[in-house]
Amino acid sequence: MNDRLQNSLEERELVDSLKKGDDSALETIIDMYNRKVYSLAYNFLGNHQDAEDIVQMVFIKVFQKIKGFKGKSSFSTWLHRITINCCKDFLKAKYRSHTYYLEDLNPDDKKNVDNLTPSNQPLPSDYLQDKELNEIINSALDNLSLEHREIIIMREREGLSYEEISKILDCNLGTVMSRLFNARKKLAEILKKKIR
């Protein structure tokens, strides 16, 4: 039996146990997926505090909705979908209360962005401190629509395949590719403006 099938069977058993209210299954699921959920939330939101809140929110939702999980997709895909939706809801609420753009960066940040160079040059991290770089990445992502942001994060930060993304977003591969293409172009434009 290959590893993938083995994992799939284990996952199904866990989900069945969780549906029956087995506490140990609940803890096992947290152990298995907490870092994945955290990583996705951090990449989406850009800071520990918000990512922590999302992790808690996601697992609570999983426990609440597990009985409605029909198994049409894998549990992992379902979990990704819940995480993405929680992050998007969180950002929508945040945008409603406060919006900031790349132009709002302080002059020091702009100076650092001006140092950025194309791919054949050293990586941005060579010029910037992690915190500054993180702020710039978040600002650039904030300028994307949520649709573009989610696909960029899933592909570029999480390294998910086209197929995985299409399952999570419940759309076909063509849509994934065109959306990803447009998101990259848009992000490249935003960064280019700052490089000049």
Partner: protein, 171 residues
């Protein structure tokens, strides 16, 4: 950008993401070498990738991971699960239409019984000052009121009852 570029666009994306089938790779690489426009696009995508990957997710402290499971489970059982129980009670009520029909029937019967009593007591109510009733009854809305010698006749709104108030004790 020519027609060949348009044709190669999808394959270029797949190639960039490592999802292109191996037999198509030589064609895309050949086109990339020849086409400056596609080269620039490719470099642009590469820049975006480098930029985004330059700052990986920082490792969170061990204390957070150590307490995470306990925190989520505690929060779930202390706050979320009891709330769910409460919701379940309401769901139970709403999922039992017979219960609500019975409630409505009981309400209807009670209303009918009281209405019947009111109709049957369509009579004059007299209040005597001095003994039990010491002051005139206060009525919020009076449909009709008239003073006739030593008595006042009143009819409260929405009733068929007449109230007669004797201003002097009758012998």
């Amino acid at each position: 950008m020519n027609n060949k570029c348009e044709e190669t666009k999808t394959d270029l994306m797949l190639y960039f993401d490592g999802e292109l089938s191996s037999e198509k790779v030589p064609d895309v690489e050949k086109h990339l070498k020849e086409c400056e426009s596609c080269q620039n696009e490719f470099k642009q995508f590469q820049s975006v990738r480098n930029f985004l990957k330059a700052n990986p997710v920082p490792e969170h402290n061990q204390e957070y991971w150590g307490n995470l499971k306990k925190r989520i489970v505690t929060h779930y059982y202390n706050a979320v699960a009891p709330e769910k129980e409460r919701k379940n009670i309401f769901q139970f009520l709403f999922s039992k239409p017979a219960f609500w029909v019975a409630c409505l029937l009981v309400l209807f019967l009670i209303t009918f019984m009281f209405k019947g009593k009111e109709n049957s007591s369509d009579l004059l109510v007299a209040y005597y000052p001095g003994e039990k009733q010491t002051s005139m009854p206060k009525l919020k809305s009076i449909k009709y009121s008239e003073e006739l010698g030593n008595l006042i006749v009143m009819q409260p709104k929405g009733t068929d009852t007449l109230i007669i108030w004797f201003t002097k004790k009758q012998i």
